[in-house]
Symmetry: C2
Subunit: 333 residues, 2 copies
DNA sequence: CCTAGCTATTACATCGATGTAATGTGAGAT
DNA sequence: ATCTCACATTACATCGATGTAATAGCTAGG
């Protein structure tokens, strides 16, 4: 049986509350008493019962991190940083996967409190804003990434500007026929929409006419789907001069397809991605991408979350994390 | 304020215990009463307080998953499957990162119970067996992967045999000078040792003399370190005919280096990995690897864990998950 | 019409930690 | 030596859900 405060108290010859006081350090405890208690705790290998503590003070010390799919390199990197930062601050992180299911995203937003959690960091894909009843008091939530509607605190990278800058960078190497991979048809993710618009804004500013046939749709942003989409596209269309993939994962799928077809990158076609995942650096050829500080995203998200958990909420805050265009071999002039 | 059983009870005109009975379904509740209670729960948007429940029955419904580094594609894939399987079974998963730190691995093994968790799935790298005091009652733990000493239930892939088979497969394409990347110097991970031995066993069985100079050490198994190790190696040594990397991640780093040096894969050198991560399929060229069913690992780990959490423990169980050699472009004859 | 023999429901205590309010202990002032 | 006053410590109640044991409500048999 595990030791409780009572056991420690008995052994130290004090009351349970004093043991508690030693642990929390709010109520002062005299030197000798504190020592006796600490020794007793050590001897009994005492570990506080977080359920009991959580019950008593209404806080569990646990935050939830909800991502579409942990196996995605991008999500994995974000999760890694959030877990690390959170642990440094003494938080326990519990993982939820949404599978990009809007309903699941919903549910997590509104029912978060159920699972012992004090707050939620959610990376939504298709959050159906209309479904969130206005006025419903949400638990402390921080959203990661682009969202069409401002529902809660948010940390994001300016996809529009980044996509625009990447398109400009590709154009600067002399390529004019720049295709994008990852546009979506129906109700797409906010990120897809913004990146497409950024791309088009760049073309407009360069005076390059928009060309519908250079938008390669790809609903799911995975290497598999990207590879398939690009293969299909190349069957029916001429090879573009450059290909801007909306994520590095898709770019990796694309590189694979291009190589199999004997197209040389960057000689025949330049390729770029978005996210700067670790594997992009080791892709063949190394991948030009939009890079940003994922640790910063993690720490900012946690800052917003803890602030909201601590104080009363005051309006909705938005933090934009900077980005940079990293040109590697895949887009060499 | 959140609704409690008391509120629901009052609204339904019954006692709190009856509400509890409705939820748990163990004690029978008559039809009409059950209906009234269910309606009251719905109206109040009642969500049970898991802290309180956890306190009362000594179970939290949470298991911890401890991995060296979530950002590693292999870890991420494993985590994904475990989270998915666990959720299907109604478990909440909390993430811990060990950073391959033996002490942290220790701590998690012995103190697991502290963090509201009912059980632990741990993927150790260098678990210093000697430090686990024999006789200390461990919480329910399942280890993933190779371990030198049998400390707890375990799910693993037979690294020795897999490495042997992969080496044989590479040899069958006519290559004799087969190097391995990922051997470790001092106290290496159990996986490193077994894979090295499997490789050597294959050479022995083929009558190929062992060649120390074909063991390329690489302590950390990441693309970065692998790339550096291989670069350094190639400065001072002739190019081997084949390169067996102990993980796909390392293989991806290796492919990048080979490409940069103008070495063609598989014409000049064949490359193989281990783990069958998603990105390997889209590597350039696609990566030959040791494949195994990660979902099976997840579900077996969870099975062992839940069985142990439920019943009394009876001895330590070991589950071996099958593997297969998947030959892709990187090792074409 | 009453009671044995059920079953559905209830009151109460409990899990472990901690806030509250009351008690105990000491030093310093007179 | 006595009385404050400050401060360390304690007893008790509490958080919310649920097991236990007792009770209320019911049907069927006599």
């Amino acid at each position: 049986m595990r030791a409780t405060v009572k056991d420690v108290a008995r052994r130290a010859g004090v009351s349970p509350k004093t043991v508690s006081n030693v642990m929390n350090g709010i109520v002062p405890v005299s030197g000798p008493t504190r020592l006796r208690v600490e020794q007793a705790m050590a001897e009994l290998d005492y570990v506080p019962n977080l359920s009991a503590r959580g019950l008593r003070n209404g806080r569990s010390g646990v935050i939830a991190l909800a991502l579409p799919d942990l196996a995605t390199p991008y999500s994995a990197e974000v999760a890694h940083h959030i877990v690390e930062v959170a642990h440094d601050q003494g938080w326990i992180v519990q993982i939820e996967e949404t599978g990009s299911d809007p309903q699941r995203e919903q549910e997590l937003m509104t029912r978060a409190r159920s699972n012992l959690i004090d707050g939620l960091i959610l990376n939504p894909v298709v959050l159906d804003e209309s479904a969130v009843k206005v006025g419903v008091t949400l638990p402390p939530v921080v959203l990661l990434g682009e969202v069409t509607q401002q529902l809660a605190d948010r940390v994001f990278v300016d996809s529009f500007s980044a996509a625009r800058d990447m398109t400009l960078a590709l154009a600067k190497t002399g390529r004019k026929r720049i295709a994008v991979l990852g546009t979506t048809q129906g109700r797409g993710s906010a990120a897809a929409i913004q990146r497409t618009q950024g791309y088009q804004a760049a073309l407009d500013s360069l005076g390059i006419p928009r060309d519908e046939s250079l938008l390669i749709p790809c609903e799911k942003w995975t290497p598999e789907t990207a590879a398939k989409a690009l293969s299909t596209y190349l069957e029916a269309n001429p090879v573009p001069e450059a290909l801007f993939c909306f994520t590095d994962s898709m770019a990796i799928g694309a590189l694979s397809v291009l190589w199999k077809r004997g197209l040389r990158v960057p000689e025949d076609i330049a390729v770029a991605g978005f996210d700067d995942i670790a594997d992009g650096r080791y892709a063949v050829p190394s991948l030009t991408t939009v890079s940003f500080d994922k640790r910063m995203i993690a720490s900012e998200a946690l800052r917003l979350l803890t602030e909201r958990m601590g104080d009363r909420a005051r309006g909705q805050r938005v933090v934009s994390v900077g980005y940079s265009i990293v040109e590697r071999d895949s887009s060499k002039a």
